[in-house]
Amino acid sequence: MSLAKKYPKEIKQILSKYPLEHKRSAVMPLLYLAQREEGYLTKAAMQDVAQIVDITETEVVAIVGFYTLYHEEKGGKYRMQVCTDLPCALRGADEFMNSLCANLGIKVGETTGDGFVTLEAVTCLAACDKAPMFQTQGPDGIKYHENMTVDRTMELISILKRSVREVK
């Protein structure tokens, strides 16, 4: 089903924020909407967005490619994005990341065997005072997890797994 048919209300609400003659502005919120279900942007979804804001599919891909929170490839159910930038690294982010890799049995950029977590190293998330920290990007949007330890992270993963199962 096309995006327009699936989310008429949401699309209308998004478009209402911008002047009629500049509906192209809606492309970014629409891409978040299109990414909601699969966790990445399918070709069909990008075509739908292009049609709604009246630009070419190529222009949509160009926007998707520029911003790091849009994904063109399927990842884990949750993307765990650990900040390893300077201020966090000064507070142990690299070590945190390494132990996390060891605990999950994957390398940075990889997805766990059950397809649940993709571990990513990202640049500054504006939480430098609460390192180590990461954000999860998943079906429920983007959430911050601050002052983390490996134990608390593993616990979070099992909670997330439970909640996904419950929803099913």
Partner: protein, 417 residues
């Protein structure tokens, strides 16, 4: 001392509309719209000496007065793209004291004649955007936003807009491009946004913290505000303290507070009681200030004083580096960041950050040779003064000052090879 910006630290539930209202919330806004002309509002802000809190420190009232009154409509965009490594103050303001920020934004809109404001938040502030949407809806319900406000002719609407992971969108023209639904690449300036901004219309862009300063300035007067801080840097500032300190966090202090006070009095001192080796006063974009002399720590934090010790105060995101940190490691981190965030539009930044990242990686991994340090310095200097926007210039700051001020660290790194 009572907070001016981080008032939520003094008053419980300050981020609820009722509590905010009870504490004189929106009084300045209502007074401005009903009793003052836009020019009068701008004049008060001008007189207060308020300078932009995003990093450049441009006088706020002057920026507002540049708006082109021959071309309409006008827009205001609040820069909530907080992405500089070491900066995390706007997030706390928006979470803890959202209405003061929104009220300041509303006053600014009135002052420049904008009927629509966009709040551009970095994409990672997804939950915060939803939170602000709620606050905006409450303000609409209470008659602070909408049509014909306070029984007059003025109308105002506010919308949040999420970015999607691009540091460069904090650059104001890149932000406008992004808001227009394009790749967030900076525009050539001039023309500047006050004459050619969002959708080609006159636009004022200010940082979240800047807006949060506006309601108290209007409520208590320009002279009161000027009495805080120093002659060159009026008022208070939220200092984001991070790195090797015991109590990292935001500290609202008057300009002119010393690094020593920030680090030791407020930040609880350096972790493991080590000594301070270097300070980055404006996040990853900073020069590395060499702390070889304890007196450096007694430098007052205002725009002019920080310049005397070879740095810039910028957004006042103070990263503390202790003597355990190798500077070549640090430079590799900052260069990696800028290489990742370079938008690719202009040659020196696109190629220079990539090249610098190659060399620092090499040095860091012990594959570097003596000539690499000179080459790195040379590439950085070759970039300086040639990039389209400030990002390229920023990427060279830690490199150049790191090599020049901490040569031993680099010598040691390449001698491993």
């Amino acid at each position: 001392m009572e907070h001016i910006l981080l008032r939520h630290r003094d008053i419980a539930e300050f981020n609820t509309l009722n509590v905010y209202k009870k504490n004189d919330g929106f009084a300045a806004y209502k007074n401005a719209v009903t009793k003052m002309t836009p020019t009068e509002v701008t004049q008060v802000v001008k007189d207060s000496g308020l300078r932009g809190r995003g990093g450049a420190g441009f006088p706020t009232g002057m920026k507002w007065s540049f708006i082109d009154n021959k071309n309409w409509p006008h827009y205001i965009v609040a820069n909530a793209d907080e992405s500089e490594p070491g900066t995390f103050k706007d997030r706390e303001i928006m979470e803890g004291n959202p209405f003061q920020f929104l009220e300041g934004l509303a006053i600014a809109c009135y002052a420049v004649g904008a009927n629509v404001a966009y709040i551009y938040l970095r994409g990672e502030f997804w939950e915060l955007a939803a939170f602000l949407d709620e606050k905006i809806a409450e303000m609409e319900k209470e008659g602070y936003l909408g049509d014909k406000l306070f029984g007059g002719e003025y109308s105002l609407r506010m919308y949040t807009h999420l970015g999607a992971g691009a540091y460069i969108c904090g650059e104001e023209t890149a932000m406008l491009e992004s808001l227009e639904g394009k790749r967030g690449q900076p525009r050539v300036r001039p023309p500047f946004p006050p004459s050619y901004g969002l959708y080609g219309k006159p636009t004022v862009i200010n940082n979240v913290e800047t807006f949060a300063n506006v309601p108290p300035i209007l409520a208590r007067g320009a002279n009161w505000y000027k009495s805080l801080g120093t002659a060159d840097s009026a008022g208070v500032k939220v200092f984001s303290l991070s790195g090797r300190v015991r109590k990292p966090g935001n500290y609202e202090l008057p300009f002119g507070t010393t690094f020593r006070e920030l680090i030791y009095t407020y930040g609880g001192g350096v972790q493991d009681s080590r000594s301070v080796k270097a300070i980055m006063p404006a996040g990853a974009s900073s020069s590395l200030i060499l702390v070889n002399d304890e007196k450096v720590l007694d430098t007052p934090m205002d725009y002019a004083s920080v310049r005397t010790i070879g740095g810039d105060l910028g957004s006042a995101s103070v990263i503390v580096i202790d003597d355990t940190v190798p500077i070549d490691w640090l430079v590799n981190k900052t260069v990696h960041f800028f290489n990742h965030e370079s938008c690719g539009k202009c040659t020196p930044c696109r190629e220079g950050t990539y090249w610098m990242s190659n060399i620092t990686e090499r040095i860091r991994e012990g594959r570097g040779v003596a000539g690499d340090v000179d080459l790195l310095l040379n590439v950085a200097k070759q970039m300086q003064g040639k990039c389209l926007c400030a990002l390229g210039e920023f990427s060279t700051m830690a490199v150049v000052t790191g090599i020049e001020r901490f040569p031993e660290d680099f010598k040691k790194a390449v001698s491993k090879a």
